[in-house]
């Protein structure tokens, strides 16, 4: 079988597996969407039961799954109980917003992490190496939520940045330039948070792989031949340190859709995060399944990308 075709088939199998497990888990998890109504003394339990059966929640699992598959094939991707609309219409807009945020964040964190990691790896033990290592430890020991709040607090104190949302209220009236500026200022806090949150992982991996490579003889030899440090580090050493970084990059890509959940909720970014969080908490099942399936797509794509890059960078890994 052709490699790509096989990967696509594997991807489809993965999607099916994920969807089945999603349904299974959700069936095991206690509570259902209409439960909250039970707490309202003005709604009778008969009404709640009637709503449940209207949305087919009283049907057995296989029937619900079959209905869902039908709806996926029909392009609806399921139905949201809360929004009374198709899941696709909910997800598409928000996925776009999330991707805008996370691709930028991923880009920036790699752009920062690689030079920083390479630089400090060249001088292990120096004060800036220790500083970066201490800083990354601290960043790791602080929950993500604390980072967002800290940045937002800074934004409030300085009045420099908007503290939430994606666009200002009068966005539509702005010109192209104004719109861009508005969007960019709104992006700063969430992107910075995401960068700070992923930076420790990346910097540490880059540094560790580089330290290993820098010990190798050909680098020592190259150093001996008087090749400049920048050229030495980036042209000679970095590609040799590539394998784990590529795997990591694949994981970054895989997490594009799912990695910014909390940050989005706190900064009011209209992405998948707030939707998914609310849907999970309220058991708006098909929205959750839809969101998980879309991030599965990214996962499939991310690991495919990583595997292909592994082949490209290291020709010894054969595609058999």
């Amino acid at each position: 079988m052709k490699y790509l075709e096989r990967r696509v088939i594997h991807g489809i199998l993965l999607l099916i597996g994920v969807s089945v497990l999603c349904f299974l888990f959700s069936d095991l998890a206690p509570g259902s969407f209409f439960d909250e109504m039970k707490l309202n003394p003005q709604i009778s339990s008969e009404t709640v039961a009637a709503l449940r059966s209207q949305y087919g929640l009283d049907k057995p699992l296989p029937v619900r799954y079959a209905r869902w598959v039908e709806s996926v094939l029909g392009g609806e991707w399921g139905y949201s109980f809360a929004y009374n609309s198709s899941v696709r219409s909910l997800l598409v807009v928000r996925a776009r917003n999330t991707l805008l945020l996370t691709t930028l964040a991923t880009l920036f964190s790699w752009l920062v992490a690689v030079p920083l990691g390479v630089w400090i790896s060249n001088h292990p033990g120096k004060w800036y190496d220790r500083l970066s290592m201490g800083g990354t430890s601290l960043l790791l020991s602080v929950p993500e939520l604390v980072l967002v709040f800290g940045l937002l607090y800074f934004a409030i104190r300085t009045h420099a940045l908007p503290v939430g949302g994606m666009t200002s209220v009068g966005f539509d009236q702005l010109g192209l330039w104004g719109k861009t500026i508005d969007l960019v200022t709104h992006l700063i806090v969430p992107v910075t948070t995401l960068v700070l949150a992923s930076l420790p992982v990346l910097v540490r991996h880059v540094r560790a792989s580089m330290v290993e490579v820098l010990k190798l003889p050909f680098i020592q030899a190259a150093r001996g031949h008087g090749i400049g440090p920048a050229r030495l580090l980036f042209r000679y050493a970095l590609p040799a340190a590539g394998n784990p970084l590529i795997s990591l990059f694949g994981l970054s890509v895989a997490g594009l859709l799912s990695g910014s959940l909390l940050v989005e909720v706190i900064t009011g970014w209209p992405g998948i995060g707030p939707l998914l969080l609310e849907a999970s908490m309220s058991r708006d099942l098909y929205v959750v399944v839809g969101a998980v399936m879309s991030s599965t797509l990214f996962m499939v794509f991310g690991s495919l990308l990583a595997d292909v890059m592994l082949v490209v960078v290291d020709p010894r890994i054969r595609v058999e």
Partner: protein
Amino acid sequence: MGTEAVGRAIKPALVKARALCKRYVQRAPFSRKKFVIDALMDVDLEIALGCLTALVGESGSGKSTLASCLGILEKPDRGEIWFEGSKVSFANSRELTALRPKIQMVFQDSAGALNPRFSAAQIIEEPLEIQGRESGARLRARACELMEEVGLSPDAGNRSPLEFSGGQRQRLAIARALALKPTFLILDESLSGLDLATQAQILNLLLDLQTSHSLTYLLISHDLSLVGQVADFVAVMHHGKIVECGSRQQVFSAPQHAHTKELLASVGVVEAAFRTAQVGGGQ
């Protein structure tokens, strides 16, 4: 081809290959195109006991694949290999394990073939350890012995192979190959990449060892001038086939196949080689 005739005429064969075939199929990512590489196509070869047989060809002609097959590191798609008169069965792992120590290889890229995390002594000890031949202090003593044998100082045993020069690394690789007391040694481009003086030193070492350990060599090289100096028999490979095979004189003085002629011409050493061949033949 005339392989059989030549081989049989002089000495009995240690290794015989019959109709070996090996095909690699490779597919580029994101492409439906298949690359079919026939590395070996019906290759027949006999390697005479106690002689140095050279396998010559351009890079990509299938030399290394043939070496891997004869070194039982790769399984040919079709064909048979006979070693010391019995057929090598790739399916039987116990038999293979017994066979392995007798056939050893010295690889092309000595730096890559020596684990930089090991010390020189550890590298030589590795095959002994794997085969469970020696252990403890005896292991180290044997390693020192072998180092001395290939002309390395046993004091360097604790140093990393990376601290060695290219020639020293090659000696190290040879020492490691000798550790299991093989009868057949495959030298896969072992001498390329070394300067002429070092080449000559290593070559001398190999010739010394051949007599002291009664070894049979298969020297794989693209360097005809080198081959012309030392080989008893020469086989020329081209596009996965052996196009010419015979004693050194036969091949160098009267090349049959167009490719061999081309090879000789392009190297521009026909005359020189012929002369050395004459000298060599006279010894």
